[in-house]
């Protein structure tokens, strides 16, 4: 059982949750699955949310953890490849899938090509507008780690988008 206010706030967050999920998963259907799993876990763990703290940061942390677990499980099931190749293959295949399926701009395709750690940093800070400190807390990494991922993510995006020669 949850409080009505909690339900209202969570419902209001749904469009943003869905957007973040899609950004992480790089695919509309996978993103919606991730978002629904997040809603279910947030409802089950509602008692653990502390009133007065940011609900969005709490929910994003849940979503990110589910996504990480899912990726690990998928990696265990999949063939063993050197990490760099694997990351490249997945990013590439997914980017092509997005291209084929959904009408997405160059920007989304460029974001989809980023390695996972850079992508989540870019999404949290540049798209969702979290402060460095908040984003680092959601990811569970030191702030310095977040900033360097962010800088590398930005550089890669500029290259993909031709902002930088």
């Amino acid at each position: 059982m949850i409080a009505r206010q909690f339900a209202d706030d969570l419902v209001a967050l749904l469009p943003k949750m869905r957007r973040f999920a899609r950004g992480l998963a790089r695919d509309a259907a996978d993103g919606d699955d991730l978002c629904q799993a997040t809603i279910e876990r947030a409802l089950r763990s509602a008692a653990q949310w502390q009133e007065g703290t940011r609900l969005d940061a709490w929910v994003y942390r849940i979503m990110r953890n589910i996504w990480i677990d899912e990726n690990r499980a998928r990696a265990r099931r999949g063939p063993v490849l050197p990490p760099d190749d694997a990351a490249f293959d997945i990013a590439d295949a997914s980017a092509q899938g997005i291209e084929a399926n959904v009408e997405l701009g160059n920007v989304s395709r460029a974001v989809a090509k980023l390695p996972d750690d850079q992508r989540e940093a870019v999404l949290l800070v540049l798209v969702e507008g979290f402060a460095y400190k908040e984003a680092a807390e959601i990811i569970g990494c030191p702030q310095g780690t977040l900033t360097s991922r962010l800088v590398r993510g930005r550089e890669a995006l500029m290259r993909y988008l031709g902002e930088k020669p």
Binding site: P15, R19, Q36, I39, L43, V107, L126, L150, R154
Partner: protein, 250 residues
């Protein structure tokens, strides 16, 4: 003076202190390369925000909200439905055999269950030819004929005197609209998909026998229990059900 990428990013993201900000602003005035880096950073962020902003305008799947609202403490619903006697429901539930007894009924479902068990069904013919009201199609049972018509047209909120009655309409975890129905030949739950109404549960129907009137039996309670298990949230209310029919059960 060199500005590191980290410093520049912090500057653009509003993460640096006032002193660093002033220093970078001043440097940019004298250094066109730095000014261009700042412009490019800002253009990138704007492009990113614009591109992802459009995703917020897409309506989210409606069953997500249903999923959330179903968990809210049901204070308001009970107050809004004073005719439901919870003690009577509990007493009735304790007499129901089988797994239905273990069900914890959420308040919005109680109305349907009560209606299902209290409605006196008037039997006036129908389904006399005894044909099965469904057919196997691509590995699924699909409603046909009278059953398909009833699923398409009858409302659970407006009980008819017909032998085939709709007990409840709800969305399942996949977001598909499903309907629990009760009839002489078969009762069950059907969900709407591309090929029409696919039967997810089929139970033996309740034959009319000789009595003109009957009280809907425990089969209906069993169906409602199955429906509650399948449902993502509460059943549709009268207005939502009418709208769903208007929208072609999509």
């Amino acid at each position: 003076m060199t500005i590191s990428d980290e410093e520049l990013a912090a500057f653009c993201d509003g993460e640096c202190d006032a002193a660093a900000r002033a220093r970078i602003e001043q440097a940019a005035q004298a250094d066109p390369v730095l000014a261009e880096r700042i412009r490019a950073e800002r253009a990138l962020v704007n492009e990113l925000r614009d591109s992802f902003e459009s995703l917020l305008k897409e309506p989210v799947p409606p069953h997500w909200e249903t999923l959330i609202r179903a968990e809210v403490e049901p204070v308001a619903e009970v107050a809004a439905a004073p005719v439901i006697d919870l003690a009577a429901v509990r007493a009735q539930r304790s007499q129901t055999p089988g797994p239905a007894r273990k069900q914890i009924w959420r308040s919005a479902w109680i109305g349907g269950a009560m209606a299902a068990s209290l409605v006196m069904g008037l039997f006036i013919g129908g389904q006399r030819n005894g044909a099965f009201p469904f057919a196997a199609e691509n590995g699924a049972l699909v409603a046909r004929g009278e059953l398909a018509n009833a699923l398409d047209s009858q409302l659970a909120s407006a009980p008819s005197g017909k032998a085939l009655r709709m007990l409840a309409t709800f969305r399942n975890a996949d977001g598909a609209l499903c309907r629990a129905f009760s009839g002489e030949i078969a009762s069950g739950i059907a969900c709407h998909g591309s090929g029409g109404w696919q039967l997810r549960h089929v139970l033996p129907g309740t034959p009319a026998q000789t009595a003109q009137y009957r009280q809907a039996g425990s089969a209906d309670a069993e169906l409602m229990a199955l429906a509650q298990q399948m449902a993502a949230g509460d059943p549709l209310d009268a207005a939502q059900e009418a709208q769903a029919r208007k929208d072609g059960w999509r």
